[in-house]
């Protein structure tokens, strides 16, 4: 195994955080095996931004400036760069784009894919990766038996390592596939809001908050901490919060460093989406709430008293540490 190709996604013409993690991951595999790491990406990303991928370990970056986010376009692009570079390992992030593109690339190359990977591969005997299974309730060790290997890693499972260096940047020279899907309207939030799937800190609340008008303190705590906000399913079902904030078995699965759950009972379907979090804090009036069994730190108390105190305590901490 010598050559690693990493697919990097972008948002607002910046490489996403999850993709930086993927580049660092791919570069480590390449380095450990005496190979080098190339990145393929698309969109109108400034040259300077692309060069900085060198600091995460990439040697070269190939960019297809006019490619759209369609899965047919991006999978052909990736497969073309694989054959040009002779890559053996192709790494994606298990994010919105990765889910649509990685399987297509794998089918094009007739190369095995394992998604949901949360650790570095074990190459001592074959090629084995650890992945999430049973919605966070277990892990599986899967081996890829084909010569070329495709993997997609869960955001925030490895962490980002940054060093020094600049990558060389070149434009993709091949032809792009035609997109079968045309985007009519984009409803992507502008600005620099913290994306839930990449967030290191998440403040989440459930039905215990009684009504949407009470989310002000949750948003305040989140913005003080630089955290993303999330919610339980009933809360998004009744429209208190937007549906993309819903975490759990039927929502999105996240693995932040810190998950603060306010007024959420901790049903098994909710835990499925959050129990991979490194540290869990639970605030609940009911000492018997099941969430305490999954918590690292528990506060038995009324959210309407505890959260304002927590905001104040955090503000003091921030001041003291500045």
């Amino acid at each position: 195994m010598s050559s690693v190709l990493v697919f990097a996604d972008s948002k607002n013409n910046k490489i996403t955080k999850a993709s930086l993690e993927t580049v660092a991951y791919g570069s480590k595999i390449a380095n450990d095996n005496g190979g080098s790491c190339t990145v393929v990406t698309y969109g109108d990303i400034p040259e300077a931004e692309l060069k900085t991928l060198g600091a995460y370990g990439a040697k070269e970056v190939v960019v297809a400036r006019s490619a759209s986010n369609d899965s047919q376009v991006l999978s052909k692009l990736t497969a073309d760069v694989v054959s040009e570079k002779g890559s053996d390992v192709i790494v994606f992030s298990q994010d919105f784009t990765g889910k649509a593109v990685a399987p297509r690339v794998s089918a094009k190359l007739n190369a095995g894919l394992v998604s949901g990977v949360i650790d570095y591969p074990n190459t001592s005997e074959g090629f084995t990766v650890k992945k999430n299974a049973f919605s966070g309730k277990a892990f599986a060790y899967a081996s890829i038996k084909t010569d070329k290997k495709v993997i997609s890693i869960v955001p925030n499972s490895i962490g980002i390592t940054k060093g020094e260096g600049e990558a060389s940047v070149s434009d993709f020279q091949g032809t792009l596939a035609t997109a079968g899907v045309t985007v009519k309207e984009s409803k992507v939030k502008g600005g620099e809001g913290i994306l839930l799937d990449e967030a290191e800190l998440v403040v989440s609340a459930g039905r215990g908050l009684k009504g949407p008008e009470n989310w002000g303190m949750i948003e305040e705590l989140a913005s003080e901490m630089g955290a993303a906000t999330a919610c339980s399913r009933p809360v998004s079902d009744i429209g208190w919060r937007p549906h993309h904030e819903h975490v759990g078995q039927t929502g999105i699965a996240i693995r932040p460093n810190l998950y603060i759950a306010v007024g959420i009972s901790g049903a098994i379907q909710h835990l499925a989406g959050v129990n991979a979090s490194k540290t869990i804090v639970v605030i609940n009036t009911d000492p018997e709430a099941p969430f305490f069994k999954a918590a690292d730190y528990g506060i038995v108390g009324d959210a309407f008293e505890v959260v304002p105190k927590l905001i104040e305590a955090y503000k003091n901490f921030k001041q003291a540490n500045n």
Partner: protein, 246 residues
């Protein structure tokens, strides 16, 4: 419109997860199986609604063994017209997708609908693999679907929001929350399901690309440390110095 809905059998969301045979097999003892929620609540129900509005047919397909038939009957009871079981068991997404793609190729469907992922393997690999094998466009993580003639309008989740997209049939989609509401089968549906066709088809020969070697349960959580409700400074200090997450 001919709809093909891919249905998989999964352990109920509240199942206790355990393994046997040296942690190489899922322990099915005492486990209740259901139709994967995304396949049932979203993909299947939306296909049925569109069929009821505009005519057509809904076929469900499962790559699985005879023991998968009870959950397939449930999908028929909810309203699918016919079922196809590809008689094979596999954990390999490529194997599964290839079987479905072969069947779809020979029976030309307008829309192939999958769930966004199974709740046991969480792979999210089968839908896009089918799309590639059929050389069709894919709308991944779709939350809305409407069809007018040969043009479908969908909404899909993307990072930080959503997009409204348009695509011509035939195409493949993976369904996420929002596309439809759960339907509970009624007595009439359950009775009718018994006599609906469930065809068993032998698999095409495919080499699996991957293999699951073993499973592992997460190591037990350490005891929860309680902090008093009026001592939030103490919590912050623990998060900073002990957990080191802030």
């Amino acid at each position: 419109m001919k709809f093909l809905v891919c249905i998989s059998k999964v352990p109920d969301t509240t199942s206790k997860i355990g393994f046997t045979d040296n942690n190489s097999k899922f322990n099915e003892a005492g486990v209740q199986f259901i139709v994967n929620p995304y396949d049932e609540w979203y993909a299947l129900v939306r296909a049925l609604e569109l069929k009821e509005a505009n005519g057509g047919s809904v076929t469900i397909i499962t790559v699985g063994e005879q023991s998968d038939e009870p959950v397939m009957r449930k999908a028929l009871a909810i309203g699918a017209d016919e079922a196809v079981r590809i008689n094979a068991k596999s954990d390999d997404s490529f194997f599964i997708a290839k079987q479905i793609a072969e069947y779809a190729k020979n029976n030309s469907f307008d829309v192939v609908l999958c769930g966004k992922e199974t709740i046991n393997f969480n792979s999210a690999q089968v839908p896009a693999t089918i799309a590639e094998l059929l050389d069709m466009p894919l709308v991944s993580l779709a939350t809305k679907l409407d069809i007018n003639g040969n043009t479908a309008t969908l909404e899909r989740d993307v990072q930080g929001g959503s997009e409204v997209v348009e695509v011509q049939t035939p195409f493949v989609l993976s369904a996420a929350k929002g596309m439809a509401e759960q339907r509970i089968p009624n007595m009439k549906g359950i009775m009718m399901a018994r006599s609906k066709p469930l065809n068993v088809v032998e698999p095409v020969s495919v080499e699996a690309h991957t293999e699951i070697l073993s499973y592992e349960l997460p190591s037990g959580k350490t005891e929860c440390k309680y902090v008093e409700a009026d001592k939030m400074d103490e919590l912050i200090e623990l998060l900073h110095n002990e957990a080191k997450v802030i």
